[in-house]
Amino acid sequence: MNKLELVSALKNATGISKNDAAKVVQIFFDSMTDALAANERVEIRGLCSFYVKEYKSYTGRNPKTGEPVVIRPKKLPFFKCGKELKERVDTK
């Protein structure tokens, strides 16, 4: 399912207009992006949580050529699946 299909599904489930559904989906993911960009945690009960993890610089290797490359320090969002989602997705 992509963003457009999510908008359609939300429109059908709630009866709001497609335009409003698109706005809501945008708000949802923009809010999370903004929070993470500000180094804030995100906690959506039952779905997931995110926090920004900092990685130090290290020397990696180009897997194709074997050449060493210096990987600069970086930040990545760390995803943790919520309890309810985890239980629903898992095979019983």
Binding site: L10, F28, M32
Partner: protein
């Protein structure tokens, strides 16, 4: 302060919905995402990332507290792959 559901509800309320409608809409959005993943269908949000369902094979594990050997059954988990855009946003400083 962490971003929570109520912060998002507040922003949806600002679109002109009632408090209750805003809560219901956000709940419905979250439920739609969960339902898709539950059915094994990945959720791809361009500019944010991809929520994937991954099948894990059964494997031998160990209880780290007692050192006891145990078998971990086959299971399904959700993983997240961050989009390049989100990554740039987080690393923009």
């Amino acid at each position: 302060m962490a971003l929570t559901k109520s912060d998002i509800v507040e922003k949806v309320y600002d679109l002109g919905f009632s408090k209750k409608e805003a809560v219901d809409i956000v709940e419905e959005l979250i439920e739609t995402i969960k339902k898709s993943l539950e059915e094994g269908d990945d959720v791809l949000i361009s500019g944010f990332g991809k929520f994937c369902v991954k099948a894990k094979k059964p494997r031998r594990g160990r209880n780290p507290a007692t050192g006891e050997d145990l078998m971990l059954r086959k299971r399904q988990v959700v993983t997240f792959k961050c989009s390049g855009k989100l990554r740039d946003q987080i690393n923009k400083d």
